[in-house]
């Protein structure tokens, strides 16, 4: 692990607690999670591993291009964002646009020419790329040439292991499903010992920023998810016994609620999440969520409004800012849930008025 990532990993234990029923806000630590949950509850996590989704290449004219994949190369044609000269050290919104490229042009990565199929009318950054390789060879190339998508707030280059959750399995995500980062091995074992179930789904978490306001306004783009039958059954059992369904991360909320909205209840299988949650959404399945610290204006913040009264959410955001909670993907955590234990939860240090 790089020094930068290591430092942020160690400090990432603060947990803002928002009781979405009583509107009480408190502070604690992520290690207190097992005590904040009840053995009737279930925690649903996104087990997607994070791909090395940033590739450096060159146009036929020799101009440098950074490709950030919007999805893993499971199909021969994948969506991607393009950036010009430079790298993650420059803030995304200040990055150079890509060289002018048209369908039929190619970007060479290593010795492989990826061909541009379409350029979006929304932005010249947003393209579809064709990989002239079989499935297996596409991943060989990606793992050889790619590195994690990274933003300027961490200066040191991130290694692939810096952006994996503990339980990462199929590499579907192009950005770390970072809400699960506080779930360390010992915390997973403590949850199991307390009898709190953990279930999985896989959600292809996409990029959080494109550097182009037109594209950013359209985020999150539709993202693929896969809900196993075992998870559907366990969620049903949890609801049957009056437990809470706690989503770990907005991607899990989006997958479960998208499925529930389509079918009336969560159904097993693969689909593409198109639902965008906001204050007008009434969640059908998810009781609350463990997530990062989100600020007004972000799509993640809007999603929180589906679970929390506006005034409470604003109060929580103000407290987080006042107390110096860190907002990025290696930052601190927040738990939005009804009926949090009033007291006795280890790690509670502060109760806001």
């Amino acid at each position: 692990m790089s020094a930068a990532a290591s430092a942020s990993h160690e400090a990432a234990t603060r947990l803002l607690l928002v009781d979405t029923r009583s509107d009480e806000i408190a502070e604690g630590e992520t290690t207190a999670l097992p005590g904040l949950l009840d053995p009737r509850d279930i925690l649903v996590v996104n087990d997607a591993a994070t791909l090395p989704a940033s590739l450096s290449g060159f146009t036929a004219r020799g101009e440098p291009v950074e490709i950030r994949l919007l999805e893993g190369p499971y199909q021969a044609t994948t969506r991607a964002l393009l950036f010009g000269r430079g790298d993650y050290h420059t803030r995304t919104e200040l990055r150079d646009p890509p060289p002018v490229l048209a369908p039929g042009d190619s970007i060479t990565v290593g010795t492989t020419a990826l061909q541009i199929c379409t350029v979006s009318s929304l932005s010249p950054r947003l393209v579809e790329l064709h990989w002239p390789l079989e499935l297996s060879a596409r991943f060989v190339l990606l793992y050889r040439a790619g590195r994690p998508v990274q933003y300027s707030y961490v200066a040191e280059p991130l290694a692939l292991w810096d952006v994996q959750t503990r339980f990462a399995a199929r590499p579907w995500a192009v950005e770390m499903p970072s809400a699960a980062r506080p779930l360390t091995g010992s915390l997973l074992l403590a949850l199991a010992a307390r009898g709190v179930e953990v279930a999985t789904l896989t959600h292809a978490a996409g990029l959080s920023a494109s550097g182009d306001p037109a594209v950013d306004a359209a985020l999150p783009l539709p993202e693929r998810y896969d809900i196993p039958l075992a998870t559907v059954r366990r969620i049903e059992a949890t609801r049957g016994r009056g437990g809470r369904v706690v989503a770990v991360g907005t991607s899990v909320v989006r997958a479960l609620e998208d499925s529930a909205q389509r079918h009336g209840a969560v159904r097993a299988g693969v689909a593409s999440a198109e639902l965008i949650l906001d204050q007008d959404t009434s969640p059908r399945v998810v009781s609350g969520l463990l997530t990062g610290i989100h600020v007004p204006g972000e799509s993640h913040y809007k999603l929180l409004a589906a679970f929390t009264r506006a005034a409470t959410l604003a109060r929580a955001a103000a407290l987080a800012e006042h107390r110096g909670y860190r907002t990025h993907e290696f930052g601190d955590a927040a738990l939005f849930l009804p009926d949090l234990p009033a007291r006795g939860a280890r790690g509670l240090t502060h109760r806001a008025a």
């Binding site: 996590v45 499971y74 499935l135 793992y143 692939l160 503990r166 339980f167 399995a169 199929r170």
Partner: protein, 245 residues
């Protein structure tokens, strides 16, 4: 236990016991991720298996290389799905001919530990919590009698295998009361390239065929719940060591 719904990752899968295990598990329906260093042998192994309609993803990598770990698990799980069974079979003797500790270069000693011990730790670390949350998983380390007995000139290898056995016990202690099981399996002395490298003058007729040992190991894996997690199981005495349930 059925294999047709399992994905198995085998390190050192291009020859010897690893390849024999791939054939045994593949013919029972398991999907296989085969990790090996030598591109030519790996390709040949994959073609052999595919000719028998076995689904295999060959991954060329060195398990002793830290940077290769997430590439291995990423490639395997992208193509085949989550890993259910992890067989740590790859190992190195270090430089041949084997040398006494007094004559072993420090770098060679370190390299043996990287491949035989640290690599398995890293791979398990990358996969075990996934097994935990999915509610199933089996990790097996291929050990050796050199883990128990101290033969002159087998120093680095023996130390690595002794530590590997303890790694099994350590994982088992920490994953106690979870659905993830860990075993060390001592295959016995086999007629393989590795054995020839170590003891070129040994009479091959006194050595076990890797195919036979692979069958026994599959027998153990299928009955993993009958062994205490963390146990060291001798392939030759698998039946006697099982706890009747």
């Amino acid at each position: 236990m059925t294999w047709s719904d399992k994905t198995v990752l085998i390190t050192g899968g291009s020859r010897g016991l690893g390849l024999a295990l791939a054939h045994e598990l593949g013919q029972r329906g398991a999907r296989l991720a085969l990790v090996a260093q030598h591109a030519g042998r790996l390709q040949e192994a994959a073609e052999q298996l595919r000719a028998r309609d076995i689904r295999v993803e060959p991954i060329r990598a060195d398990v002793g290389d830290k940077a290769a770990i997430h590439r291995i698990v990423g490639q395997a799980q992208a193509v085949l799905g989550p890993i259910d069974v992890l067989l740590h079979n790859a190992s190195t003797l270090g430089p041949i001919p084997l040398a006494s500790l007094l004559d072993t270069d420090c770098e060679d000693f370190t390299r043996v530990l990287e491949v035989n011990l640290v690599g398995p730790f890293r791979l398990s670390k990358a996969l075990a919590a996934g097994m935990l949350v999915r509610g199933r998983g089996l990790i097996a380390h291929i050990s050796s009698d050199a883990a128990i007995a101290s033969y002159p000139d087998w120093g680095a290898y023996g130390v690595s295998k002794a530590a590997l056995d303890h790694l099994s016990r350590q994982w088992a202690a920490e994953l106690n009361n979870t659905p993830v099981r860990v075993l060390s399996i001592d295959p016995g002395e086999m007629n393989t390239d590795m054995h020839r490298d170590a003891l070129p003058t040994a009479d091959p007729s006194t050595l076990l065929a890797p195919q036979l040992v692979a069958e026994r190991i599959v027998y153990i894996l299928e009955r993993a719940a009958r062994y205490p997690s963390g146990a060291r199981v001798l392939a030759a005495h698998a039946e006697e060591q099982a706890v009747q349930s």
